[in-house]
Structure formats: structure tokens, C-alpha cells
Symmetry: C2
Subunit: 199 residues, 2 copies
DNA sequence: TAATCAATACGGGGCGTCTCGTTTCACTTC
DNA sequence: GAAGTGAAACGAGACGCCCCGTATTGATTA
């Protein structure tokens, strides 16, 4: 605990904070989002509603913080994509994993809830981009830059655009449920991207 | 609202129906979506709440019907994309127009509201796909097929995939506000798509 | 007269605030 | 150390507000 000063009420605080975030994640993952109420979160976490509102200003903020904390667990050391030297194989591995992730019902409900909040709250969207999206994109771009150095990708390619072409179709297909998120589909997105931005 | 039906055949039904849909569109376009309530719609339309619930089962259904009616105005004759014989020019025209459309604040709020409802209601999403998306996609595919016949596009290309690569990045950039929807960007999406699926 | 309507009351339920009595903990005082 | 103390944080939940969707009523229209 890197606390240097002042009264140490942190033990109690931290425990209830974690309980609130865990309860939120559990509820969002297992129920339709409309059923997730602040009262339900408080009950599940074994805390009073005021304890929640002392920390976060709104339900959106709670949900967002809950998902943010999820990624901060795996964080600490920065994420990195596999780099075997074979760009196509590496990307297909990652895209297949991503497609599988979206097919999981709990993850589906979680990200759908997040997108609902984000879509209607520009400030939350900015925080989402800064804290969740950008670190991931940095890792992806690092892998792409390595591919550029290896001559497997157009050296002048706009990496933001490359990532969009690679991921946006998958994301849209998931969001609108407009088609299967199969391994074949994941592979074909990689093929398309490499054809468009290949050397 | 001018009524062209002189005879007493139709009752107040149609006029109030139009008033409700128009009021819904106006409210969704000018306010944050959370502020759009059924009571506000009824007040704006000069209609009782019961008149609304006699026609639609839920708020989602009202919003959806309001946007559906919008597209049915311009409908009647099926939509068609320009076909000058120059695929690149035609697509850039359409993509630039699409990007501009999304930049309009009223349209932005409208489609954001629709996406919010759709994202959390699979049945509504299916109806959305059937009544709004598929007619448009049919028109787009017709243009792409014409390009295939002209040898400007890989004859074996999966047209669903082509459309996704073309539109999904724009859609995602708009939804997540992750970058400018400029004409340059629209053009580069066409360039990428043609590079990936060109002959 | 018979539908249809606008208006409005109503129950149900969630959000965010407020209050209350209790627990925890840093800091005394013995 | 052990016992005591005050303040901050707490669990519980009542409350006011707003909204959804239903039910009722008296007026309007065909």
C-alpha cells in the first residue's frame, strides 16, 4: 500500500470498492442490462447505496469503472500481441480469439452495456478511448510497425486505418448481429487487410 | 398538416399517427435521448398517451417506427446507387455523402438513439435489418455486381464482406467518435476496398 | 349512438438524496 | 498495552422525483 500520510481508512474503503465493482460486473454479465439497478448492485455487494454514490456520480460511471477495473487487473505491464515474424499467422490468431470473445454471452452483455453508455455520453466515450482503447491500439500498432520493418506491410500505410479495416467489420457484425463471428470470417478479415495494405 | 382526404372515410387516426411520429423525430433530433419520454411525445403531438399505446407496444417501438417512416417517405421506388461506369468515382460520391450525413447533429442523435435500442433488443435489431438495412444493402450490392460484370471488381468477392470493409470503419469511427469523418477519409476507405477487392 | 379521442389519475419501479443508528479506527488517557 | 473517545465511514432503507404503461372519464366526432 503506497499510502504515505493521514488516517488509514483505506482498508475498509478498498474492500467495499472492490465488492461494488465485482457485484456490478457479475450482474451485468448475468442479466439483461435493464435489470441491473443500483439497488441490486448495493444488495449484491452488501453495501449501502450511499457508499456507492459517495464514490461514483451515476450508474453509467459505476458500470464504466467496473469494466475499467477488469482491464486494470491484466494491466500493469503493458499488453503485447504475439510476434512470431509471421504477420498473417499472428493476426489470424488474434482475430480468431477476438471473435470467440465476442461470442461469449457474459462478455457480450458486458460490452453491449458499455457501448450503450458510451454511445450516449461523449465524456464517457473519451475516457473509454483513453483508458481502454488506446493502450490496446498501441500494442496492435507496435505489431504492425514490426511488420512494416519486416517488409510484410506497406511502410506508408496509415496504421489507424489498417486497424479500422481489420476490426471494424467484426465489431459491426457483432453489434448488429448481422452475421456469424466464425474463425473463417476472422481469417478473411486478415486476408482482406493484408491484400489492401500488403507490400 | 394538410389533409388531402376530403371524404369522412378516414378518421382522426392517420393525422394523430403522423403527429406522433413527427413529434418523436423532432424530440429525438433536438434533445439528448434520455430526455425523450413518451409523455413529452404525447404533449408535443397534442395527443393522449393512450393514443400512442394503442398503436405501439413500447417506447423502443415508437422510436423505431418514427425512423422507419422517415425512410419510407423517400422510399416507394427502390433506392439505387449512381452507376456512371466508374466504380471508384461512384463509391467516393456515396461515401462522402454518407460521411456528411453522419456529421449532421440531428441525424447523429437520431441514429444514436436507434442504435441504443437495437443494441439491447435482438427482435428490434432483426426488424431493423429487414426493413432498413437490407433494402439499402441490396442497392449497394447491385452496384457492386455491375462493377464485377465490368471487370472492375473481383468476380469471386463476397459482396457482404466488401460492404463491411467499406462501411464498418466509417460507422465505428462515428459511433466511437474516434476520428474525423472527412471527405479524405471517405475516399481512403474506397481506395482500401478497391485495393483489397480489385481485379 | 358508438367510436375515438385528450387528459389525467394511478400503480410500479428505478434513480439519486437524506437520515439514522452502528461500526471502525486514529488518537488519547490511564 | 488496555480501555476509552470522537469522527469518519458505513449498512439499511425511507423518501421525493420522474418515467413507463394501464385504466378511467368526459368531450368530440361520425
Amino acid at each position: 500500500m503506497p499510502n504515505e500520510k493521514g488516517p488509514d481508512h483505506s482498508r475498509r474503503k478498498e474492500r467495499s470498492r472492490q465488492a461494488i465493482l465485482a457485484a456490478t460486473r457479475a450482474l451485468v454479465a448475468e442479466e439483461a442490462y435493464e435489470k441491473v439497478t443500483v439497488e441490486a448492485i448495493a444488495a449484491r455487494a452488501g453495501v449501502g447505496k450511499q457508499t456507492i454514490y459517495r464514490r461514483w456520480p451515476s450508474k453509467s460511471a459505476i458500470v464504466f469503472a467496473a469494466l475499467l477495473a477488469l482491464s486494470e487487473d491484466t494491466d500493469g505491464q503493458s499488453v503485447a500481441l504475439p510476434d512470431t515474424g509471421d504477420l498473417e499467422a499472428d493476426l489470424k490468431l488474434v482475430m480468431r480469439a477476438t471473435a470467440e470473445e465476442f461470442a461469449d454471452p457474459s462478455f457480450d452483455r458486458l460490452i453491449r452495456a458499455l457501448n450503450t453508455e458510451i454511445s450516449n455520453d461523449a465524456a464517457l466515450a473519451a475516457e473509454y478511448r483513453e483508458k481502454l482503447v488506446q493502450p490496446l491500439e498501441a500494442a496492435k500498432k507496435a505489431r504492425l510497425r514490426s511488420a512494416q520493418d519486416a517488409g510484410q506491410l506497406d511502410a506508408d500505410a496509415d496504421l489507424d486505418l489498417v486497424l479500422e479495416v481489420l476490426y471494424a467489420p467484426l465489431f459491426q457484425r457483432w453489434l448488429h448481429r448481422s452475421g456469424p463471428l466464425s474463425a473463417t470470417y476472422a481469417d478473411s478479415l486478415v486476408d482482406v487487410t493484408l491484400r489492401a495494405f500488403g507490400p
